[in-house]
């Protein structure tokens, strides 16, 4: 699939813009590589997504438990339309579209390059929280990793962030390159044009603050100050409650349906992104972490394994056979249930 086609496919996939799951799903491997350049220094890096989907990502299903998808239809022809019948239009005036071809958009796209131009270093604290959009982990690539570690170490010691621009998949980005624990990350930033200002929002001019109220606020802050972020504070309690409910119902055998085989555009159930293992492998390769660390870093994938023999059979096939045999309640059966029912039905 060409990059252009792929992008078009991505555009068509109905997903909220800031949804985590819209990120790079195949995060167990790098999805993009580039070279950080500044002065005469070149540092090849591999990009990995630093985000993963929420644990409990609800899916849409029909009453029968079939997965729900979307397709495009032409309202005039009142029929579904195939991918190659679709063109891209830019809405110039409401209801008035100019069709743009792939070639034309290619010409408007930024110049293709693998360079990540590091243009300046800034104090880490000068980056306001509202600029940050999405994070990537940059793993050292290429033969020598020395420059990578030198940059990471220096940025950490000086508490500096690098600001760089680059083009990835036909889109221009500005990123902050940050170092922590010897690992470089790229955090894409919002362009200033994407941010409102207090003035553009229409917030009122600041007023003089009475000393006693300011004192009250300062005291309230002082009473709550902690030195470090406790990740417990960021626990996803809603996801946990949902998973718990699902497990309880599964144990009771309630409302269970057989899922479709994973397709390309679906999130794996527990999203076991093994970036950790991958990074470990690289760093180990570079002789940077000991085995002790490696063992700690290795996490077993969390995944309920069904009986391997059953898992080999296509559950669609089982379902179809159950249908042929007229087995009641087949749409709500797990694969195992289907096998049992089929055995029973066929003696």
């Amino acid at each position: 699939m060409s990059a252009r086609k792929k992008r078009r496919a991505e555009e068509k996939r109905p997903e909220p813009a800031e949804d985590e799951s819209s990120g790079e799903r195949s995060a167990s491997r790098s999805f993009w590589s580039g070279t950080i350049t500044f002065g005469l220094v070149s540092i090849p890096v591999d990009f990995h997504a630093a985000h993963r989907p929420r644990r409990a990502s609800l899916r849409m299903v029909t009453d029968d438990g079939h997965p729900v998808g979307k397709r495009y239809i032409c309202p005039r022809h009142e029929r579904p339309i195939a991918d190659d019948e679709v063109v891209r239009g830019f809405e110039r005036e409401p209801g008035e579209f100019v069709v743009l071809t792939d070639e034309e958009l290619e010409a408007a796209a930024p110049e293709k390059t693998r360079d990540i131009d590091l243009l300046q270093f800034v104090p880490r604290s000068s980056l306001p929280s509202l600029l940050f959009r999405r994070a990537y982990v940059l793993a050292p690539a290429g033969g020598s990793t020395k420059a990578y570690h030198l940059l990471a170490e220096t940025m950490e010691r000086t508490d500096r962030a690098g600001i760089a621009t680059f083009v990835m998949r036909d889109k221009a980005y500005v990123v902050a390159i940050l170092a922590a624990g010897g690992v470089l990350r790229a955090e894409t930033l919002r362009f200033s044009g994407e941010l409102r200002t207090p003035a553009s929002v229409g917030l009122p001019e600041p007023v003089r603050v009475p000393a006693e109220i300011l004192r009250e606020a300062l005291q309230a802050i002082d009473a709550l100050v902690e030195d470090e972020l406790d990740l417990e504070e960021l626990r996803d309690e809603a996801s946990e409650a949902l998973s718990e409910l699902a497990q309880t119902k599964a144990q009771r055998g309630e409302d269970i349906v057989v899922g479709e085989a994973e397709t390309e555009d679906e999130v794996p159930p527990v999203a076991p992104i093994d970036l950790v293992a991958l990074l470990k492998q690289r760093l180990e390769h570079a002789g940077l972490i000991s085995d002790q660390h490696a063992a700690k870093a290795q996490r077993p994938p969390r995944r309920d394994v069904e009986e391997p023999e059953l898992a080999k059979k296509a559950k669609n096939e089982l379902y179809e056979r159950a249908k042929t045999l007229g087995i009641q309640g087949r749409s709500r059966m797990s694969k195992r249930d289907l096998v049992v029912a089929l055995k029973k039905a066929t003696g």
């Binding site: 299903v61 743009l100 000086t158 500005v174 100050v225 996803d236 409302d255 694969k335």
Partner: protein
């Protein structure tokens, strides 16, 4: 003109109560295209289908399910999901305060400006206090039936609240305390530091600009006279809808250029 507030709540910090309004701080500036049917230029619409039978599905009949293993999903009844919703609340509770820089940026997700909703003195006092202490407040609140965690900070005298991703949504790289520094010699480190210092300057977000939108718009204007596809609601549309509208918009575009 004042932007429209999307939510109203009260920030609670100790004994201090600050009524606030939420405003989206980021605007989507991405270039969006509509997908059109190539034969008639109609914007396509989307339809939910049963992926197994490929038959259309009514939106109202769609249910939610969660995978419990590779092959099995558990379906939920709407009332089961409703029971898990947090109780409605208009309180943004500040539970902790952290020195600026302690929250890894990978957690920041969506920014809001909080504007004062009445009590100006309390609002600007809170902003001033956060600025003086160089702190971010860890906040928890309920909005649109969801529980959010966020970081409350001060910027240019005003309050900014950025929603935070949950712990498990951010890949943990703390397991990699690399020992890279051992192999680096002092001279290299000194040179690297000099290079960093040489490239050091103040950060000016306005210096970075993406002109993709401008290029696409220029392209659109160049094409406008030739390949405009006019769209009218399907019921009114005829088989050959385009010509009059195309002429009209070409004229418009010419007038605009000469204006």
């Amino acid at each position: 003109m004042t932007a429209r507030a999307i939510y109203k709540a009260k920030v609670e910090l100790g004994t201090l109560e600050v009524p606030v309004r939420f405003y989206a701080a980021a605007e989507d500036q991405d270039v969006h295209f509509r997908l059109l049917h190539s034969t008639d230029g109609q914007p396509v619409t989307q339809q939910y289908i049963d992926k197994t039978t490929e038959r259309p599905v009514e939106r109202a009949s769609i249910r939610k399910a969660l995978p419990v293993s590779d092959q099995r999903l558990v379906m939920f009844r709407p009332e089961e999901l409703a029971a898990l919703e947090p109780p409605p609340s208009r309180i943004v509770a500040i539970r902790r305060c952290l020195p600026f820089g302690k929250i890894p940026p990978a957690f920041y997700e969506r920014p809001y400006y909080l504007g004062p909703d009445g009590d100006l003195a309390a609002y600007f006092a809170l902003a001033r206090a956060l600025q003086q202490r160089k702190c971010e407040g860890l906040a928890r609140w309920v909005m649109r039936k969801r529980m959010y965690v966020g970081a409350l900070s001060e910027r240019d005298g005003y309050l900014v609240l950025v929603t935070l991703r949950h712990a498990e949504q951010v890949v943990d790289i703390s397991a990699f305390k690399s020992k890279g520094s051992k192999s680096l010699n002092p001279q290299e480190l000194r040179l690297a530091r000099q290079l960093v210092q040489a490239l050091e300057s103040d950060f000016d977000p306005a210096a970075y600009h993406d002109d993709y939108r401008e290029r696409v718009e220029a392209l659109v204007e160049r094409k406008a006279s030739g390949q405009v596809i006019a769209f009218r609601p399907p019921r009114k549309a005829t088989r050959e809808p385009g010509l009059a509208a195309a002429l009209e918009s070409s004229l418009k575009s010419v007038r605009r250029k000469s204006a």
